[in-house]
Amino acid sequence: MLDFLGLVVFAIFTIMIVGAGLGVVLANRVTTSALLMAFTFLNMAGMFVLLGAETIAAFQVLIYVGAITVLILYGVMFTPQTPRAYGLFFQKQTPWGAVLAALAALPVIVVAFSFHDAKTVAPPGGDLNALAIAVFNSFAFPFEVASVLLLAAMVGAIVLVKRESPAAPPAAPLRRSEPPR
């Protein structure tokens, strides 16, 4: 019975993920795309919970919904989106791209179903301990490297976005102190 419940939940998540993913690509407004992307991420977190990876799911929400989506929304708001016809939201190569993506997807999905015998087994007691031990023992060095990568990305992003500091001082308080001419 619980298996059946799990299947139902899985089906719901699948529909949500695929539907929202398609929505990200097809929506004619960038904000909609961003929100649908966040929705996809949330459902993906649900998938992780189904797989018994609650920690990963928590990180998923924390990072993707809490940070990445907000960052992308910032990006949307700082680059004004000009309204225009729906068709112009797509590139000229759209037919080619769609066909190519579909062609590549077909064999992969076929291969994916070749795993039909394998079962997934959720570990007892959650994945927190196992994940922590793996990260801080076997993968301690890559973990440190990843932190350096994040630092580099942070510095890089700041440098890229920073404007040249304007040489001109703030005008308003000055004008007041100047004698009228």
Partner: protein, 101 residues
């Protein structure tokens, strides 16, 4: 749950992301599509890591690293988009063709 189902969902989302990169004009949406692709691989990693159930969390560790990479990528990617937008007020990738041969 069968592994195949998770892998299939992962593949579907991945190729939705591929299609998004290939068909959309808006650079921000392309960035989102890339994030979808990364997330699809996350699902595949976790699913494969659950295949035996007890074999540690090797697959999930990679997911953690993908989180790191994704966060870094979005930060730098958005910075690049904003910098490009400042030079040339458009976020349409097919108008940013200064590299044309």
């Amino acid at each position: 749950m069968p592994l195949a189902a998770f892998i299939a969902v992962s593949a579907a989302l991945f190729f939705i992301g591929v299609a998004g990169v290939l068909v959309r004009r808006n650079a921000v949406v392309i960035l989102m599509s890339v994030e979808l692709m990364l997330n699809a691989t996350n699902l595949a990693f976790v699913a494969f890591s659950r295949r035996l159930g007890v074999a540690g969390e090797r697959g999930s560790v990679f997911v953690v690293f993908i989180f790191v990479v994704a966060a870094a990528e979005v930060a730098v990617g958005l910075a690049i988009i904003l910098a490009a937008y400042r030079n040339r007020p458009t976020v349409d990738v097919d108008q940013l063709d200064e590299m044309k041969g």
